[in-house]
Symmetry: C2
């Protein structure tokens, strides 16, 4: 490697699969590392494991301090002793997705197809991956932990896509699933937003055709713009108005722009300051080529397309119990998408409950303090546990 990348890969607990994973594109990616965290204890019967699938820019650090950012785990309010996903009762697993940048094999891993220079990274030569490929890698992890059947698979947003893919690909592998704030396919609008993010990254000269590590740089400006835009889509208009409204703050130069006191670069709105912070902090923890790879996987996601265009067909005969959750002000993965999913499950005679949580917090609501949502998660898992006779 020519340099130490500014964003360090670090040493995350992981398991290695030398045989790799056969991908949807036909390529066998080998070896494959999957980095993961666990919480709670696996029961002697190994029947209390819950797999949590993280969202696009999430990672495996669900309920502990993040080793890179020093921030609390992203779902610490949901996962822990006595929490809705109760680690006194359940054994919780979360792995960094294939294609990610927090220890699992992805574009920032060493290239292993023998076609690059020695010690070259994958970069954009990383094979295209799908949500199903991510799930295949998770399946190997779960089996490697000695678990034949999961109690449940739970996840929001892109995590919810993985949840659905689990239910379709390995229906015998779990009792229940909770797809949250997600959809059975990525919409044209979702694809459009992802594409703008990708173009922002690719437009950054520091991206260098995807080989930025060679110059010891990262496409920080492009990645920050991508993040800023995506962040808007995670919040509702109401939430932005409530949090920021039209309040202003002094600009970077104390209210004066580069051209003096009268300038179009003077004071800025608080919402701008917030977005700039979101953008700049993101580039310190996320890899630009992972951004490209994973957004592409999301865009390709379409459960029905893999079943002759019939969403219902994907679920016919399933014994899995579904709890589909949406949030009323989520416009990225709106309730209408969840309803489409729930209806298909009903037509497939699946055991499904569908809950729309009333909130003004938008898509991000699944990460935030929403007591109704907490009760839904706790209630569903307790119900399934009782029904299954889980001790």
């Amino acid at each position: 490697m020519n340099s130490t990348a500014p964003l360090h890969i670090g040493n995350h607990p992981h398991v290695s699969f030398p045989e790799g994973v056969e991908l949807d594109c036909g390529v066998t990616l080998a070896p494959v590392d999957i980095a993961y965290c666990t919480y709670g204890r696996l029961s002697p019967k190994k029947d209390n494991a819950i797999l949590i699938c993280h969202a696009f820019t999430g990672d495996q650090y669900v309920a502990e301090t993040h080793p890179l950012t020093g921030k609390p785990g992203w779902w610490g309010r949901m996962v822990g002793p006595g929490k809705p996903i109760d680690t006194d009762r359940f054994f919780v697993i979360c792995s960094n997705v294939l294609g990610g940048c927090m220890g699992s094999t992805g574009p920032r891993s060493l290239r292993t197809d023998g076609q690059g220079a020695p010690d070259e990274l994958w970069g954009t030569a990383f094979p295209p991956i799908t949500i199903r490929d991510m799930v295949r890698a998770q399946y190997k992890l779960v089996r490697s932990l000695g678990i034949d059947r999961l109690f449940a698979v739970v996840g929001g947003s892109m995590g919810g896509m993985q949840v659905l893919e689990w239910a379709v690909t390995y229906p015998q592998m779990m009792l229940a699933v909770m797809p949250i704030a997600t959809a059975p396919f990525h919409s044209a609008q979702n694809i459009a937003f992802n594409e703008v993010g990708r173009q922002a990254i690719i437009a950054d000269p520091d991206w260098r055709g995807g080989r930025y590590w060679e110059a010891d740089v990262v496409p920080a400006r492009g990645l920050a713009v991508a993040r800023m835009m995506a962040h808007i889509t995670y919040l509702s208009e109401e939430a932005l108005t409530r949090k920021f409204g039209r309040r202003m703050r002094s600009g970077p130069a104390g209210g004066q722009g580069p051209e003096g006191p009268v300038s179009m670069f003077g004071d800025i709105f608080e919402v701008e300051s917030y977005l700039r912070y979101q953008g700049s902090s993101f580039v310190r923890r996320f890899d630009a080529n992972s951004y490209l790879s994973i957004t592409r996987a999301m865009d390709w996601f379409d459960i029905a397309a893999d079943h002759d265009g019939e969403l219902t067909s994907a679920f016919v005969g399933t014994a899995v119990r579904f709890c589909v959750v949406s949030f009323s002000s989520d416009w990225l993965f709106p309730t209408s998408a969840a309803r489409t999913l729930a209806r298909a499950l009903n037509r497939a005679a699946a055991n499904v409950s569908f809950v729309e949580i009333e909130t003004d917090k938008g898509h991000d609501a699944f990460l935030l303090d929403e007591p109704d949502f907490d009760r839904t998660v706790r209630g569903f898992l307790c119900g399934v546990a009782e029904h299954a006779g889980l001790s």
Copy 2:
């Protein structure tokens, strides 16, 4: 000037005001050129003039072939002989906004404050302008045409902001106004989207601190990303789904990416191809510093803030007739914003009608084929004309 900018200013019909315009920021910008087009004939009584205010990236070429793009005028279906804004009856005026780049004074004009080098352009030293400043310049244009009172002021989106500012600043100057697909203030979400666009431009090294003309370049990549993102906000999710769905087309390399047939840069979705085209064609007709200047003016727009936080106060005692129009699937300037405006007008005892047009076309609906909208425009103007005894 060190170079001919790749984007030529061109020679647009205009009027010059040597005395300039006193701006909200306290600076007097002088001289000021305002480029404009007219359609139809001014009546002997000079009582049949309609001022059309264009949207953010629009211009004065309402109903004729655009001299730069060769495309038809942006509101050709609305303005012309026998059209809803009937040029057999009305004299129609539209001017390029102050801060624009189609002939009116803006960041790409020669710097006239004596502080730059000879023949230097304004660039980011262009004074910050507001929607009211744009309207002040339009007022001078209208008076220079010998018109003491307009029949109506009409405009959509940022054009609607100007319409409202006209009604508040010069209430004696018109019989009627039609603010369309607009709001009495820019919301936190609107500001957020604008800010991402600005950051995309500023992040482009070819922006060169706003002095890109010196190097004979334009920040084409950043400007294209800004345009792509903005374009998504102009369309509804339904419109994107109807137009593109999840259909794919061959990628730039005939379905093969730079890394060969198995690549994350392979085939692309049609919606991506569409957005890329929107981005690349935009940079040929729009100036990046104008983008910064005008989006800032939009962000600052807040009618209530100029009236002690009371929107109603802005309109008390007005004799102007208002027709407020919104579109049901517009999420950038949603019906709720129009309703806020209509309620304030009602409380101010103004003469107001409020029409929400049912459509799935989103914010851009005011530019597209919407028969209900055409009927609303035609009907309102005819009603006002009849009431006023216009011949």
